[in-house]
């Protein structure tokens, strides 16, 4: 397991089906994905390719009629205190065990900032909720209490009273080493302080004030930043951004992407960016996984993939986007549409739309193979410079 040392997430042969009235939707069929510690990986693909389903599988958020039918999601969590790495297969966890991972060790930011924050709670309260749920705030609560006592010491009228407060402070300081379960009142205060800290971390102007506001009082970009703050509140190992900037305007998107780039260095979490926009990938990620119709088709470092795409689908995807500097009459298009996943094509799922398809593509499913160092492709007829 020398390879797993620097991995934080490794998805092997993940298969997820949705059992609907019309038939079994084979949403994921043997997904392979590995995320290195400290890396930012982009997962790209079109609607229905399974990128969001993959994210939901990692958090075990798949609900009936969906079911994870096979494969492994190995999560290598490193204990922040001891530095020990522990391997967990997320697929095998019970829902109760999952609670301690979801939102704590693995966090997610969803696409639509208008619908995800709860409209009836203040921003600060929603971030504080995550903190109280997942963190033992014993120490922080004591610190808040000591701080309050020190405040009152300054305003104290009589020497006897002061002596009493000093005694209390000493008592609490002695408990700092081995904090007991926190008092509800002080835990809430500590969580709120942490929420304000998180808002400051995501570069929110006047975080104290924002924490007291309701989601509708914030603009889209600020709401998205608040959601990022919420996701980062427990120092997760993995942050998943599921189309986190899709609903934002370009100038605001640039702000959020810039923030992610800065935070990446500060928090040391590995980030999984799910998007359909190759520009966003190029801007933020250092490795990319391309998905098509529930399968992984190509995976490589960002530079490598953009310079030398190997899978015909990746090539098609890269040439189909209009570029600002080109004066093309027509765009190169990929013929046909994304297949229906109830009856996916046999063999390689891309073969009906592929210009290079031969008989073997119809009959045999290509496996993900390393064609160049660190560059994995699932194709019988890889293109590009090999």
């Amino acid at each position: 397991m020398s390879q797993s040392q620097d991995l934080v997430l490794s998805i092997k042969g993940l298969t997820t089906n949705f059992y609907t009235y019309e038939g079994v939707v084979k949403a994921l069929d043997g997904i392979e994905l590995s995320l290195k510690r400290g890396d930012t990986m982009g997962v790209v693909g079109e609607t229905g390719c399974g990128k969001s389903v993959t994210a939901k599988c990692v958090l075990r958020l798949i609900e009936p009629p969906g079911r994870i039918d096979g494969g492994q999601i190995l999560f290598y969590d490193r204990d922040p205190k001891t530095g020990e790495t522990q391997e967990t297969d997320i697929v095998q966890l019970t829902p109760l065990e999952m609670l301690s991972i979801r939102g704590n060790r693995i966090a997610i930011v969803f696409q639509d900032p208008a619908t995800y924050p709860n409209p009836v709670f203040r921003i600060g309260a929603q971030i504080a909720e995550v903190v109280t749920l997942h963190q033992d705030l014993g120490r922080e609560a004591l610190e808040v209490r000591i701080k309050e006592l020190e405040e009152s010491l300054k305003n104290s009228p009589s020497p006897e009273h002061q002596a009493k407060i000093r005694e209390q402070i000493e008592h609490y300081v002695s408990m700092l080493e081995n904090p007991p379960k926190p008092d509800r009142k002080y835990a809430r205060k500590a969580a709120w302080a942490k929420a304000v800290d998180m808002l400051r971390l995501v570069r929110m102007p006047s975080p104290d004030q924002i924490a007291n506001q309701y989601p509708h009082e914030l603009s889209g970009g600020m709401r998205q930043r608040a959601l990022i703050a919420m996701a980062l509140a427990c120092n997760p190992s993995i942050l998943i951004c599921d189309e986190a900037t899709t609903a934002l305007d370009v100038t605001v998107q640039a702000q959020v992407l810039n923030l992610l780039n800065i935070l990446k260095k500060e928090i040391g979490a590995s980030i999984l960016i799910i998007t359909h926009d190759l520009g966003v990938v190029a801007e933020t990620c250092n490795s990319v996984t391309v998905m098509y119709a529930g399968t992984t088709v190509e995976s490589a470092g960002t530079k490598q993939l953009f310079e030398n795409p190997v899978h015909p689908y990746t090539i098609g995807l890269l040439t189909a986007i209009p570029k600002l500097h080109e004066n093309k009459e027509r765009l190169d298009q990929i013929p046909g549409t994304v297949p229906n996943l109830i009856n996916p094509p046999t063999g390689c799922r891309f073969h009906p739309r592929c210009a290079f398809a031969t008989d073997i593509c119809v009959s045999d499913r290509p496996s993900l193979e390393e064609v160049l160092p660190g560059h994995y492709v699932a194709c019988h007829h890889p293109q590009g410079n090999l």
């Binding site: 609607t47 190029a282 801007e283 098609g316 500097h325």
Partner: protein
């Protein structure tokens, strides 16, 4: 206004939406959605309109089509003032001007077959009915790449890209001269988007259409358009026949262009980050509306409103310092330069 090349011209067009409040629904403010826009649209061209959400690009398109009534200003279509036409005159004009909306699922009736959806304009305008309508609808569907089998199906049986094609077929039913495309591809995927854009270009050549292409996606608009108008808070800040990314003269255009992520990792992290967000159009900033976010802003920008000035070759810019500012180079420009160097 006797220029025969002009198909549609708008002068000082304004569209304000009243904001009501209080017990008696009193008007307490105005949303300045479109504020004093002047624009000529030539026959056979595609004019692109870009801007962030809330800049008034959709309202502009709808006001031109008389789907919304203008607050002030004048719309001239084919030499005729259509700002206040009503009744059957308006209906006659609507035959010439059509719109394709963003969400094709929402603009098709889920309980009506494709044949009847596409044929409805023919029926309403008394162009054709019965077997003749069917033949015409089939002809239209074939033009957008659908077949006879699709005639009697319902919208839910189609993919997003196909639905958008159906909507396009329906707009073309009455042989219009002018079509507003309101974010036609923002709900479709990249590969399908390429197909739709190619189809639109083909149809434009075939039917001699004039397009107004509205989108927030700069690359798509640039690909489709001959001329490009950049809107900010209800105003056109720059109108250019040239490559907007090559020679942006307005600081907002430059920031907008540079914020578009470049699909090449070599040029990452070079976006110009604009601070803040688009201000509310209820109380737009005084003077130049961009001045609170502009890094080049001077005193004059907050007091005096810049007018659109011609900087040569029909390149219009509304900025006090147009042509005097040095923006540096954006990632987009570097990317283009590198791509050109590679090509040669």
């Amino acid at each position: 206004m006797s220029d025969s090349r002009v198909l549609l011209s708008i002068e000082n067009l304004k569209k304000y939406f009243p904001l009501t409040g209080g017990v008696f629904r009193k008007v307490i403010g105005m949303v300045h959605a479109v504020d004093d826009v002047t624009l000529d649209i030539y026959r056979g061209e595609t004019i692109g309109v870009v801007g962030e959400s809330g800049c008034g690009k959709t309202t502009l398109g709808r006001t031109i089509l008389r789907l919304l009534d203008a607050t002030a200003g004048k719309i001239t279509f084919m030499g005729r003032d259509i700002t206040h036409v009503k009744g059957s005159d308006l209906r006659a004009i609507r035959r010439e001007m059509q719109i394709v909306f963003q969400d094709p699922m929402a603009s098709l009736d889920p309980r009506v077959t494709i044949k009847n959806s596409v044929g409805e304009p023919l029926l309403i305008n008394g162009v054709a009915r019965g077997p003749r309508m069917r033949a015409m609808v089939l002809d239209l569907l074939q033009k957008v790449g659908l077949t006879e089998d699709h005639l009697n199906r319902f919208p839910h049986e189609f993919s997003g890209g196909q639905r958008q094609r159906i909507c396009i077929a329906r707009t073309l039913a009455l042989n219009p001269k002018f079509v507003v495309m309101d974010e036609p591809t923002s709900s479709t995927d990249v590969s399908v988007q390429a197909q739709t854009l190619n189809l639109m270009k083909d149809l434009q050549d075939e039917f001699g259409l004039t397009y107004m292409f509205i989108s927030h996606n700069l690359s798509v608009v640039k690909h489709m358009s001959d001329r490009l108008a950049v809107m900010y808070l209800g105003k056109i800040v720059e109108l250019t026949p040239e490559d907007i990314f090559r020679k942006p003269l307005h600081p907002y255009t430059f920031a907008l262009v540079s914020a578009v992520p470049v699909p090449d990792p070599r040029f990452s992290g070079r976006a110009v980050i604009l601070s803040g967000e688009v201000p509310s159009p209820i109380n737009p900033p005084t003077g130049c509306r961009f001045h609170p976010r502009c890094i080049f802003a001077q005193e004059i920008c907050s007091s005096e409103e810049p007018l659109l000035r011609d900087m040569g070759d029909g390149h219009l810019v509304a900025c006090h310092f147009a042509g005097e500012l040095d923006f540096g180079r954006s990632a987009q420009m570097e990317y283009a330069r590198a791509a050109e160097a590679e090509a040669s």
